[in-house]
């Protein structure tokens, strides 16, 4: 009987977002029933983890959350495409190995070549945080704190480019 009453008080406190351990009656009961206190400790630990954690089980998330998440994802994917930064430098001022510097007046088409780039994709929607970045010389860094897979396809079109050297600037 006391057990039912005690847990009812614990539940009521949690419903009202109060600390059940502030209740003097519960304090006495837990001291008398350490096993019940252990059960409460486990419950508290799990509720804390639930409120603080970022679940990978998005398919189990409430409907309204799925909707907002889907919306955020759409925004995030758009943001990914927008923030995808591809810097292609052709024939910089300084000579680069493999590309001969032509004397002024002999400007002609050269094959475009990526000398350096940095690609960063960031997806943050409150549930998922995915980040990938890579540069030509550095290693690929990926962090993803969300385990549900999202299929994202990005098509990057590469145009054939012609570049003519400017006699004045040599660029």
């Amino acid at each position: 009987m006391d057990r039912e009453r005690a847990w009812a008080r614990v539940q009521l406190a949690l419903d009202e977002r109060r600390d059940p351990l502030d209740d003097a009656w519960i304090q006495e009961w837990f001291a008398a029933e350490p096993l019940e206190l252990a059960a409460y400790a486990q419950l508290e630990l799990r509720l804390d983890a639930l409120s603080a954690g970022v679940s990978a089980a998005a398919e189990h998330a409430p409907h309204h959350h799925s909707t907002t998440t889907a919306h955020r994802r759409l925004v995030a994917v758009c943001a990914t495409l927008v923030t995808t930064l591809l810097i292609v430098l052709f024939a910089p001022t300084a000579p680069v190995a493999g590309i001969s510097v032509r004397p002024p007046g002999q400007a002609e088409a050269i094959a475009p070549r990526i000398l350096t780039y940095r690609l960063t994709a960031t997806l943050t929607d409150g549930v998922r945080n995915f980040r990938a970045s890579r540069s030509l010389t550095g290693p690929l860094h990926i962090s993803d704190s969300y385990s549900e897979s999202i299929t994202t396809t990005a098509d990057v079109g590469v145009r054939q480019m012609r570049h003519t050297l400017n006699q004045e600037t040599n660029r």
Binding site: L14, L47, V54
Partner: protein
Amino acid sequence: MPELRAYVARLARGHEREDLVQEVASRALRSAQSHDASRPLGPWLKRTALRAWIDTRERGARSPRLIEPPEVAIDSNELRAIDVNEEVDHWLARLCGIEREVIERFHRHDQSLREISVALEMPEGTVKSHLHRARRKLAALRNGEECW
């Protein structure tokens, strides 16, 4: 102090009892300013004792285990977050659908009982029943235990 000792004696045995008394005294001194002087000290100390007991128990449950060192450096905070998430998903999966939804709405998304009631189109009392049942399961579930 004798009252505190007597209270702690009901929570812990042997050397753990003395450790707990010291821990409670230490916490009480550290957070003395958080105590409302207009309210009795006893319940505040008892609450501190219960918190200390719970924290001590959690520390014990999370004692480090020796594992193979990782070959690459991994951010330990990231790993901890993954562990917590996996654990949360593990026991959430053991709740029944409606219980999982209600408890996530209430404790994860901080929705009120009324909001949940409206969103799920069910009486507030029913929401409470599901929520209470979910909490009871979380308090009782051990690894490998299935939803009943």
